[in-house]
Amino acid sequence: MGGYIGKILRVNLTEGKISTEPLNMELAKKYLSGRGLAGKMFTDEVASDVDALSPENKIFIAAGALTGTNAPTSGRYVVVTKSPLNGVVASSNSGGQWGAHMKFAGYDMVILEGKADRPVYLSIHDDVVEIKDAAHVWGKDVYATTDTLKKEFGDDKVKVLSIGPAGENLSLISAVMNDLYRAAGRSGVGAVMGSKNVKAILVRGTGKVENANPDVMKTVLSSALGKLRENGVTGQGLPTYGTAVLVNIINESGIYPVKNFQESYDAEADLISGETMTANHLIKKDPCYRCPIACGRYSKWEGGEGAGPEYETVWVFGSNSGIHDFDAIHKANDLCNKLGLDTISVGATIAAGMELVQRGYIKPEELDGTPLEFGNAAGMVEWVRKIGYAEGLGAKMALGSYRFAESYGAPELSMTVKKLEIPAYDPRGVQGQGLQFATSNRGGCHVRGYMISPEILGLPEKLDRTSLEGKATWVKIFQDLTAVIDSLGLCLFSSFALGLSDYAALVNAVTGANYTDEELLACGERIWNNERLHNLRVGYSAAEDTLPKRLIQDPIVDGPSKGQTLKLAELLPKYYAERGWDEAGVPTPECLTKLGM
């Protein structure tokens, strides 16, 4: 067997019990690994009425079927659990090195269940697994924790995953961090680890991941690498400028949200673009495990240096907060990495706060002297810190923009879908992406089906972003394909250059399976439906497949997309039909039978 290790590590924190069990290969055939298999095990093992922050919730930290192999971009792992932010399946993935090393240590997945009676960390050195006391690092930031625990482990090759103070404080927008600054960012997964009193997981693996067909793999790999090299986006655009190259493209298309989505074009966006960052801030590229694309940045700013920032981060602390101060954006990003926070949700919550102040909902005396207004960069950075440490109003903001805005009676000012903050694309000017936001299984998220690729970037082919034609079909295929890529443990960015057949060739070569393109895509569809069924069980319905009032009812007010609206009411029924769901968005028995569910 190649790719899969075939072994799961299960840690019951309540009892302090560590055990291993075989990976269920029958299930893996249908759900692959990573997001798919972990999602299936999660829905099988965790009852839908469990409180996300209770000991009854479980965390599945899973590598993909190809994680740790020589497949390109194969460094990813996923954190699957019940989201404390919105109750849906959280499946936040992250790159870096940690995921590959979990497999080198001999595990496809680590499952955390129960709750430790004191702060602990997990130390995994191949088959030596220990639960250790973490009192001395509790309260410390991610960098200090990583440094201390690495020294304690006594081997520089150990990889560290940890939460920051935000996760300990049960912030619903806290992240799980690995390799210092790589983040399984979304859906509040850091708080679930915090609720279990688990500060960190160290892995040191000396094994390797087998390859079923090394000879076939040579050919498949060389073809994939060739495509990644020759593709303009993966071969040049991303390596040269990083993801922030999108600032100008999205802005010039008139779908670049400004000041909490009140406007959609920023005349000064170039001040914080990927081009400007490359010219003035970039120190070096910083790729994840086995990644020839290397979109990751390592940058300098006034008084510091560190990782990032990514496009979404630049946007959210920049234009969406009315700010064009790159140093402040870097500082906010760096704080999020150290405190263990999701940059998108944190920045969007601060921007919602700025609008709450603008409209008079928040009184000046609530701010303890820290400015919360569009354009105030120093204030914005300080609010990030206050959110991380749950100080003052920061404690309320740490619950995410929905709960925060709702507490002032103005939930409509929270730019969220299913309480998760929407990233940097105004859906009114890009119909497929709008439908994708509304139907994403984890809420407002762009990486469950990145329709920006065809609708703006023209990959794999150019679609008219304003047209509804064919969009339901595209969204379904993109969502299913993304579920496959996530479950293989590859980076979504590889899909700018690679298609379904390339992924099928890779998984077949590595694991020795014989998936046809259709069978592999069906795995993605199964994964999607499994997540949907969970969300319906926890109480979501078609009514929540929607967007904030502002993005549904009001047209775009400025810029090149002025006047455009999202035609969600027309798109949704088409999407449900395309998926084989009934009019209420529930998968039909025929649909589930077809998928063998």
Partner: protein, 74 residues
């Protein structure tokens, strides 16, 4: 007629970020690209007033043309 030309990413190398151009009536995007020494197949995204168009697209007075090589992210 007068149009605004915006260049991005590597198109800026040795050229400019934003410039105004005076063009005869009936000009199209190709008439912008030629003097800039940018081949049409190097252009991945050509936006005129935010709408994606091809190189044959005819221009009007006051148009803003934004030109991008293959780039992307997320």
């Amino acid at each position: 007629m007068r149009v605004t030309v915006k260049l991005f990413a590597t198109f800026r190398d040795g050229r400019f970020k934003v410039e105004e151009r005076e063009l005869p009536q009936g000009s199209n995007v190709l008439n912008i690209l030629e003097p800039l020494n940018i081949k049409p197949d190097e252009v991945a995204i050509c936006l005129v007033n935010g709408r994606d168009v091809n190189a044959q697209h005819f221009l009007n007075d006051g148009d803003t043309i934004a030109l991008f090589p293959p780039v992307g992210g997320g």
